[in-house]
């Protein structure tokens, strides 16, 4: 898999070193992956907020289609759709149940007990679902096509403090570690007889012995890591000279402004009641 076209390498490197550094840059399996992280972040933002800024159905459905098309070009369509469905279905179910039955409306479709299912309720539920899916696709597409490190290095190049950038990426990369830790702790407590396969009540009662070690363990880890980082001058103020950075083409800069302007215009129009 090739490194992104035009990745910026520090300009004072030996050619041999430059080649070696280029090999360390995360792979970009598709042109979409190779876009600047900020561009992809703006696309995700416009996709999610835009879905709410636009009224009715056409806008949100259009955004969904755009995201699906981009995902297809990036080669992550199947995976993105699967994960989005997985994440939005639980929320969708509750949204549908609540909206269909409690939304004030006049045209009743059917009744269950004291609750009326109205056309207005179904309409509201459908609109909400479309927007939920748009958010999920937008953010999911960003996460799937952007390496956290590439994003953070880009932020740092734009002037974000290295320490803030570090915390941002460390937080993202900490999530799988947290899940793994919770699993290992669950194992230790189950080995002492804690029943995680039994009744719901038993499982709820068993939460405390799991939460404590997860929190303490995470805090201890954070403490140990911050001590180790000090030995690598982590808290030294000032900018750093990066070894590589993601390219940022002029047309991408234009695209970002156009998209954000479009979002702003849509929001204003919506708020002032025009759409």
């Amino acid at each position: 898999m090739p490194a992104p076209v035009g990745v910026i390498l520090a300009d004072d490197l030996d050619p041999a070193d430059a080649r070696d550094i280029a090999r360390l840059v995360p792979d970009t399996p598709s042109p979409y992956h190779g876009l600047n992280p900020l561009t992809k972040a703006v696309i995700a933002t416009v996709g999610s907020i835009g879905a709410f800024a636009a009224g009715g159905y056409i806008g949100p459905i259009g955004l969904n289609l755009v995201m699906l098309l981009l995902a297809f070009r990036a080669g992550v369509l199947g995976q993105l759709v699967r994960i989005s469905l997985l994440l939005t279905t639980p929320i969708a179910v509750s949204v549908v149940l609540v909206s269909v039955f409690t939304r004030a409306g006049r045209t009743v479709l059917f009744e269950i007990g004291p609750f009326d299912a109205t056309v207005e309720g179904v309409d509201f539920a459908a609109q909400t679902l479309v927007r939920l899916f748009a958010i999920s696709l937008s953010i999911g597409l960003f996460v799937m096509t952007t390496h956290p490190r590439a994003f953070v290095i880009d932020l740092e190049r734009r002037g974000v403090s290295p320490r803030v950038a570090f915390v941002a990426v460390a937080t993202i990369e900490a999530v799988p570690a947290l899940v793994e830790r919770a699993g290992i702790i669950g194992e230790s407590q189950r080995a002492r007889g804690l029943d995680t396969e039994g009744s719901l009540r038993a499982r709820l009662r068993g939460l405390l012995p799991l939460i404590g070690p997860v929190i303490i363990g995470t805090l201890t880890d954070v403490e140990e890591r911050s001590l180790a980082l000090e030995s690598r001058a982590f808290s030294r103020p000032g900018r750093r000279h990066l070894l590589w950075a993601m390219p940022d083409a002029p047309w991408e800069r234009v695209l970002r402004w156009v998209l954000l302007a479009g979002l702003a215009a849509t929001a204003i129009a919506r708020v002032s009641g025009r759409i």
Partner: protein, 268 residues
Amino acid sequence: MLALSGVSYRYAGYAARVLHDIDLTLADGEIVGVVGANEAGKSTLCLVASGLAPGSIGGGLTGRLAIDGVDMKGRPLHEFSTRVGIAFQNPATQLSGVSGSVFEEVAFGPMNLGLPARETVERTKAALASLGIEGLREREPRRLSGGQAQLVVIASLLAMRPAHLVLDEPTAQLDPEGTRLVGEALRRLAATGTAMLIVEHKADLLAELCRRVVVIDAGRIALDGETAAVLGDRRLVDWGVEPPSSVRLGRALEARGLEPGLIAGSTA
């Protein structure tokens, strides 16, 4: 030269002191071992020598820590990092967690110093070479074995070019292969002139590497002297320290009325 003079320390939030009147010198290029029972103050000593106590964790320090003649009191932590590096026993929590490759992990420190990219790369290559791990440069740090990860940690510290290294039980959580890897790395380092303060329970390892050994007992230095003399001292047991195998076996033979010299040369 790293010198602790009359150093006492108590942790933040605690009234009792954990270190009392410590006088300890680490000369240029010297390798000194530290032994003692758990909770005797060995780890605290490491934190103080590296400036992390009180610099990062707070607490009360009295006495003086001087590195290369400079009093380090009140100095910012990043100034310590180019003079003394510290490695702990768990490799997983010492890796930054944000590097996709060993090369970038080792380059993290020099980059934080604001060095130009060219110099960062130079130092990183040199650090990897000094431990013989150039072959790991493109590997993902989180996928390494414990021993390999610990070598990456040490390389990351070396890239800061400190004259002194403090190692707090670097092999405690490693399997025998990892211990062997780190032991070999420390042997190589010993030849380069980096001064090292090594805390370990494995007396055999210290017997091989260190010119001098210090015994810590209840927060004080109980003994400070030439390695063979200290590790052969009969009071080690009282201080909760296991002597090296050769000493231990020699004593077992003596207890049976046999010549300790019977096993000479066989325990290497």
